[in-house]
């Protein structure tokens, strides 16, 4: 190998304009919906963390004499079949839903990212193999896949998290792979390769920062999806087990009392909707801010 006699281009010398700016404050400020959502989610997270202090009642405290009470000053969201305070259960349920969502996204994104990088960068048969496996997973409607995994592992919250997470992997893999392929064609990567930068270095230094934006957007939207899916599983009885307060499970418990006590279903349903809505709006805002012309296939 002959000695190189010219300077080696490094990240610092490669033109910065190839790396798009993440988010400008002005752009986010324009999207009020996203800001509101962010605020709501921050408040929700704080409330979830502080639930033990904030909740007026023990969410597990059974008081059968007080069953099925409508919302009042004593019980802001009424009581359920066992006399438990629904408002307190909502607060604790926030913990469960947020935790499940975040963990599920982590379980989906990390392997998804790695698989996508490997598939996109290496190409050829390993690419084909990985994508076929992803196709196989996508051939199952998402909830069926999650359902099967939970039925396999046993119904409990942890397994619901894992199931929802695994069901989400293909989306990340596809996205990352697509972005990697697009990035591979760009000039600066070619340049880096031409001067002998090693594979992994290229990936981490050059490709990753470019695809960070779409991944963030996907992760946010996927968070909404994960929360919905996990509560669906609990609704079907396959997620959080009673008496754990979880919004989907609470909805399931209230199903038989729709007319006598509609607040049992109304409150957790509203909670799910507001949370998922906020996450969705935040994701939309991020997407608009990061690249208004960005198109994904999902």
């Amino acid at each position: 190998m002959t000695k190189r006699r010219f300077p080696i281009p490094t990240r610092k010398t490669i033109p910065r304009r190839e790396i798009p700016p993440l988010v400008t404050r002005r752009q986010l400020r324009r999207n009020k919906g996203a800001l509101l959502s962010l605020a709501f989610l921050v408040v929700l997270t704080v409330v979830a963390i502080l639930a033990p202090t904030l909740a007026p009642y023990d969410p597990l405290a059974v008081a059968v004499e007080e069953q099925l009470l409508p919302p009042s000053s004593n019980h802001w969201a009424g009581t359920d079949l066992f006399g438990r305070d629904i408002f307190s259960r909502l607060l604790f349920g926030a913990r469960v839903s947020l935790l499940v969502g975040v963990v599920a996204v982590a379980i989906a994104s990390v392997p998804g990212l790695m698989l996508g990088l490997i598939a996109g960068y290496n190409g050829r048969w390993i690419d084909g193999f990985i994508m076929r496996v992803m196709d196989m997973m996508l051939a199952f409607p998402g909830i069926l896949l999650a359902l099967s995994i939970v039925a396999l592992l046993g119904p409990c919250l942890t397994n619901a998290m894992i199931a929802v997470g695994i069901a989400g992997i293909p989306n990340y893999t596809r996205l990352v792979r697509g972005s990697v392929l697009a990035a591979k064609r760009k000039q600066f990567v070619r340049a880096a390769r031409a001067v002998g930068c090693r594979g992994w270095r290229i990936v981490f230094r050059h490709i990753l920062p470019n695809i960070f934006a779409p991944i963030l957007v996907l992760a946010t939207l996927d968070l909404a999806w994960a929360i919905l899916n996990a509560s669906s599983l609990s609704f079907l009885g396959l997620g959080a087990q009673p008496p754990t307060p979880e919004w989907g499970g609470m909805l399931n418990e209230g199903r038989g009392y729709l007319r006598q006590a509609p607040w049992i279903t109304a409150a957790p349903g509203l909670a799910i909707m507001l949370t998922v809505l906020s996450v969705n709006l935040l994701g939309d805002g991020l997407r608009d801010a990061l690249d208004p012309r960005m198109r994904t296939r999902t």
Binding site: R132, L138, F140, I143, S232, L258, L281, D284
Partner: protein
Amino acid sequence: MMLQYIGRRLIIAIPVLWGVTTLVFLMMHLLPGDPAELMLAESGGSSQSIAQLRHQLGLDDPLYVQYGRFLANALRGDLGRSIFTNRPVTQTILEQLPHTVQLAVAAMLVAATIGTTLGIAAALNRNTWVDSLCVTIAVAGASMPIFWSGLLLILLFSSLLHWLPATGQGSLKHLIMPAIVLGLASSGTIARLVRSSMLEVLGQEYITAARSKGLSERLVVCRHALKNTLIPVITVMGLQFGYLLGGTVVTETIFSRQGLGRLVVDAILWKDFPIVQGTVLLAAAVYTVVNLLIDISYAVIDPRIRYD
């Protein structure tokens, strides 16, 4: 060249189908529970009679034998008989398929109508309060858990107003609420896509040209913009169909409708292997075909993508 592309994709589809069925086969056998025990449970059958029934059902053959038997039969078009009802799987699936398709198509129509309307309204009034409102409504609809919106509609229209039936199928009245519930969830994505697609189209030069010719706004939108807006949207709707099929599971449960969703969920929980295997095979085949059609349409529309 095109044929070659299609041919290649078809060939790739086969191992995917095979992989899916194998995966399902393995999973079903790993799930807890024993169908023979289940069938004899209520009568308190002894372990001897349970073992005998297992043998008769062919459940105590080694896994690879059962697998081979299933594959051989499937290739001949025989998907076996349900363990519990003892009726042919193909027949059972064909009985339930129309209901699910009916629901999915109706939901798709609802989603397309709501989504397109909101999306166009948003795009035409970009950055005004109309835009924000439409987008928020669309996303709110997509954020509502299906089981919640379903229960709410039942409470309102069945329990309180007595306008619509809460359960069953067979008439348009039975289809309205489930279709709305399921379609609403999908309309969010469509609305967002229509909006961004239309915004992009509206920014194109030929639109500006049409406007400068003096054509009315309505003509511009309807004749020129709409067509091109809808092309990518239609392809996305194809993918949404797969998501809708998943959504039918919860919808069919809430509204006590028949359909593949409920059939498969029950079959998974009760370990009715033949039904699960048959349905998943069908779903995978449909998914593969839909995917293939979408890829082909992409390749037709945009030659750059053709050889990825």
